[in-house]
């Protein structure tokens, strides 16, 4: 099990290789990437920033929860910060398990929890040169647990 906040480009195939094992029958890699459009508005790039200490702690906690629920520790999660171009990967989640149902569930759990509680923010850059912080929750203010 390994989780990290990183600045360099992510390597999905390295993450896949890291969780692979002859004990596992299923491996799933989820890759989140920067889209060219968000809410109908053309995007030219995204700046990701994080509360790095807490983000690292929450990522590790989420992976631990997924491991406890699914029964595998073959989990790698990396989230990138800094400026990303269109098409670049912002997050990679690799999970391997003896069986596929558990692998899918663990992968999905991890991405949903990341979006819910890991303190990372993104500022989109638009073709007209303006930039805006993305608020996907419309200012949700409940403690995310």
């Amino acid at each position: 099990m390994r989780t990290a906040i990183v600045r360099d480009p992510l390597q999905p195939s390295a993450a896949l290789a890291e969780v692979a094992s002859v004990a596992n029958g299923a491996a799933i890699v989820f890759v989140g990437t920067v889209r060219e459009v968000n809410d109908g508005r053309p995007v030219t790039g995204i700046e990701y920033s994080a509360y790095e200490g807490m983000a690292a702690r929450e990522l590790a906690a989420i992976a631990g929860e997924a491991a406890a629920r699914s029964g595998t520790t073959d989990i790698v999660v990396e989230h990138r910060v800094g400026r990303l171009e269109l098409g670049e990967a912002s997050v990679v989640i690799a999970v391997a398990h003896a069986h596929r149902a558990e692998a899918y569930d663990a992968s999905r759990y991890i991405i949903e929890q990341i979006k819910r509680r890991v303190p990372i923010w993104k500022r989109e850059e638009y073709v007209d040169g303006t930039r805006e912080w993305v608020d996907p929750t419309a200012s949700r203010t409940e403690i995310p647990r």
């Binding site: 989140g32 990701y48 920033s49 994080a50 509360y51 200490g53 807490m54 983000a55 702690r57 989230h79 912002s90 997050v91 991405i111 990341i114 979006k115 819910r116 509680r117 890991v118 303190p119 990372i120 923010w121 993104k122 500022r123 912080w133 993305v134 608020d135 996907p136 929750t137 419309a138 200012s139 949700r140 203010t141 403690i143 995310p144 647990r145």
Partner: protein, 80 residues
């Protein structure tokens, strides 16, 4: 007592900085800290009850702060 307040993303824009040492009365709670902040947010750009993390963990309004705590005001997260 002194605490360290951290502001991220859009909240750093609100306060024009991302970190500040703040004096708060001994025994202050997270809720007290937020009332104190609100007085500085003259344009009312913070939501009514923003998320707060104390020493890298999400905290409820009734948590009592201690000297040296790192108190982060957390905008809506947008990772992934």
């Amino acid at each position: 007592m002194t605490i360290t307040a951290l502001f991220f993303a859009s909240y750093a824009d609100v306060f024009g900085r991302d970190q500040v040492e703040m004096e708060v009365p001994n025994g202050s709670t997270v809720g007290d800290f937020l009332r104190h902040l609100r007085a500085l947010d003259t344009d009312r750009r913070l939501p009514p009850a923003p998320l707060v993390a104390v020493n890298e963990r999400y905290a409820r309004p009734d948590l009592v702060l201690r000297p040296g705590d790192e108190v982060a005001v957390i905008p809506p997260v947008a990772g992934g």
